[in-house]
Symmetry: C2
Subunit: 216 residues, 2 copies
């Protein structure tokens, strides 16, 4: 479902975050992407999620060469087929938890009432049933992280990209999140998990180690 | 150096984040504050750091009742005696790494040239000597976290409050940060560390467990 061929990413200013990366992720996989801070993990996830374009090389999602898609086609791809948990969450500050998660269903043709019902169910699933009306500044770090997770999964996307999904969670909440991801994976979701947690990485079926912008 | 007596914190809207907390931290201690997501850890750290006031009870820093200090005296206390590593970093988006850290010395009477030299040394210490001119959006999650750490320690404050300082770091970088904190502690800095990392918590001389707004 994901194929990177010879992917290089150099940022303006000269930092090469990825160097000629080749990687194939099959449908239904659940790999852990691991490696030191600054090794290029989030950069790679952004390219897979079509949030950025490579400087060189090809990114294929579902067989489509991402470079051949228009911005409009890319938006549609992202809205319906890719769920993203960002390392820094990126919640809408003016929306409460329910609104933030319901917005994850905005381009899926689902009506407002159903969006809110499904958003509530997703938030209850991550233990936030009592925080629906809180805005991000009224939530703890780990609560914001769980809102970001709920928003990414509420639309049941076929591909889920999770950047450090348990970084702000205690081991009990973190285990709960990993259990949720494993259940989604068993139901068919392909999930890439960037994690610094050695135990979590080792518990997943495959590990993709990175160092200095390369897959080791 | 820190004394909380009967401290309660209830947010507008009714959430009681802390309930009648009593806690004494002595000079030179290095306790780990642990507990589930939402248990009140960051709230407690904000009260200790005088960034917020309790709804009930007393917070004493260095023997001073925080409630009896004017806003101006509180600002002076924070600028010179307390270093803060925030759970979400709060870096200035328009300043590069060097500027962000140099600003940690702004109210200490140190001239610009020395601020920048000390900022550079602090950044080199956390492995960011090659990222001095990068702005926060040009840094990885773990790099931003390390800039926040460098900014908190550059002024060598007697009290350091660190909220999840290794949450975005791989184990090698995380170990490096804990080593830095232990060295500062040996040199006399009192350090409170909120952490979800069991190994890190167990490696510190004291653990303060929290649950549902109370110290257990
Ligand atoms: N401004 C606010 N208004 C209302 N409730 C709040 C506000 N800030 C925090 N809370 C609530 O207070 C509780 C404690 O928050 P706090 O940030 O102290 O938790 P924490 O222990 O640091 O959690 P984490 O490990 O997830 O960072 C949380 O349940 C949160 O929803
Ligand atoms: N916009 C940018 N401009 C310049 N350099 C950048 C930019 N964004 C990221 N970088 C650099 O690219 C490198 C890789 O960044 P990336 O965010 O992919 O790392 P990471 O593996 O996710 O790290 P972490 O574990 O700390 O989150 C880092 O060294 C970073 O400084
Ligand atoms: Mg990252
Ligand atoms: Mg917190």
């Amino acid at each position: 479902v994901i194929e990177l061929s010879g992917v290089t990413k150099t940022y303006p200013g000269g930092v090469t975050a990825l160097r000629s990366v080749d990687l194939v992720i099959g449908y239904g996989e659940l790999p852990a992407i691991v490696g030191p801070s600054g090794s290029g993990k989030s950069t790679m996830l952004n390219l897979v999620g079509t949030l950025d374009r490579p400087s060189q090389g090809t990114v294929r999602i579902d067989g489509h060469d991402v470079a051949s898609l228009s911005d409009r086609q890319l938006s549609a791809l992202r809205a319906r087929r890719i769920g993203f948990v960002f390392q820094q969450f990126h919640l809408a500050p003016g929306r409460d938890a329910l609104g933030n998660v319901a917005d994850g269903l905005l381009y899926t043709g689902v009506g407002k009432r159903e969006r809110e019902q499904r958003a509530e169910a997703a938030l209850v699933r991550v233990g936030l049933g009592e925080r629906l009306t809180h805005r991000p500044y009224q939530l703890s770090g780990g609560e914001r992280q769980r809102v970001a997770i709920a928003r990414a999964v509420v639309g049941d996307p076929p591909l889920l990209l999770a950047d450090e999904p348990t970084g702000n969670l205690d081991s009990v909440s973190g285990t709960g999140v990993m259990k949720l991801l494993c259940e989604l994976n068993e139901a068919g979701t392909t999930i890439l998990v960037i994690t610094h947690d050695r135990e979590i990485a080792d518990s997943l079926p495959r590990q993709v180690p990175m160092r200095d912008g390369q897959v080791v």
